[in-house]
Amino acid sequence: MNTASWIEKLGGAVIENWRELRQLLGFAYTVFRRLFAPSSYRPLTVDILTTQIYFTAVQILGFFIVVSVLFGSLFIGMTLFVIKEIGLTSYIGQFIAGVVVLEMAPLVTVLLIALRSGSAINAEMAVMKANRELDALTAFDIDIARYLFLPRIIAVMVSVVLLSSLFAIIVTLSGLLFSALIFGMGVNAYADLIAKAIEYKDFLILMVKSAAFGFFITFIPLYYGSRAGYQLTAVPVAVLRGMVNVFIAIVVIEVLSLVARFL
């Protein structure tokens, strides 16, 4: 490959990525403007928001509790056993608060919600685009950002925050059980360890991180879904691109929250 064609290829890639970035930022601007506009919140939006919270958080509740109990108990039980073996019993509080509540709870929750609701939203938007249903809404002057995007984004943000908190509570209770079994620790001693290890800042980080996860695992599928082509073959491509970017967003948020915590 000669220098001229290499530069041409590089230039083409830069222009393409710049165009993509501008579209993404434009989409984000539209969503944020609607998010903070009081006129966006009409009875219809509230109805859809309620339905979406039901689909995202309530329908999955039984399965989520089972996963939290099984996964949380296994993880806590095994780790506490190792902690006892290596003689780091005094760090139980920091481990449960720092690793389980702040890192594992939002991460497990967001992975589950992204796989279930993020992919569903991505496919729903792409199919609506291919069927010209998004155009139909526009033909009737219905703002798709207000009608479709906003309720879904808020519903998933609320759902991830609530389910992360539920996961944290369930795993903390599992920790109580295993502390009693492995260390013979009483409720008061366990509560004391946890209270000393958790600060208000940690709750804030948990909430902000969960909300950020919720925002991006909806925003990205909405973006890629609504930008799909008009052919049905565009649907799997849109879902694939959306879900890969969701995964990247999850990793980036996780890294940023770790940096924020240890700065």
């Binding site: 219809l44 609506m128 069927n131 009737f140 219905i142």
Partner: protein, 144 residues
């Protein structure tokens, strides 16, 4: 025909209310919800407020049996009339019917559509029918 629809849309502005094969019903909503959606969004009605009016409209057109159905469960004719009812929900709607004979198979005259438009006696509602010049005879076959 797409360009004719675009011109009409620009001319009619918020009154533009298409009944077209290119403007489908939302597949994840029932017939009832598709019709109610327009006024719920534009007039900020609650679900309870829009329930009575949408129900009355479906009763007037004897389509109550379709209320809970999705678009894929409807025949051509049912789909057309549900789209017509949805279009009528715009304020002072200018209902633009795009090539009606292409939307309903085995319809030989415009009489059923004219009758339906007469039933939509909301203030300011008007009907505009778009079709090809070469099909004029069929449009005029009921003498109007």
């Amino acid at each position: 025909m797409a360009s004719a629809l675009a011109v009409l849309r620009a001319e009619l502005g918020p009154r533009y209310a298409p009944v077209s094969a290119d403007v489908p019903l939302l597949s994840n909503l029932s017939v009832f919800q598709n019709i109610a959606l327009i006024r719920q969004y534009h007039e900020r009605l609650t679900a309870e407020d829009s329930y009575r009016d949408t129900n009355a409209l479906l009763e007037r057109f004897e389509l109550c049996h379709l209320a809970g159905k999705r678009s894929f469960e409807l025949s051509d004719r049912d789909l057309f009339f549900v789209k017509l009812l949805r279009a009528s929900q715009r304020k002072e709607a200018a209902i633009v019917i795009d090539r009606p004979f292409a939307q309903i198979e085995n319809m030989h005259t415009l009489a059923p559509i004219r009758k339906a438009l007469q039933l939509l006696d909301f203030p300011g509602v008007e009907g505009i029918i778009l079709g090809y010049e070469w099909n004029r005879g069929r449009y005029e076959s009921d003498g109007q």
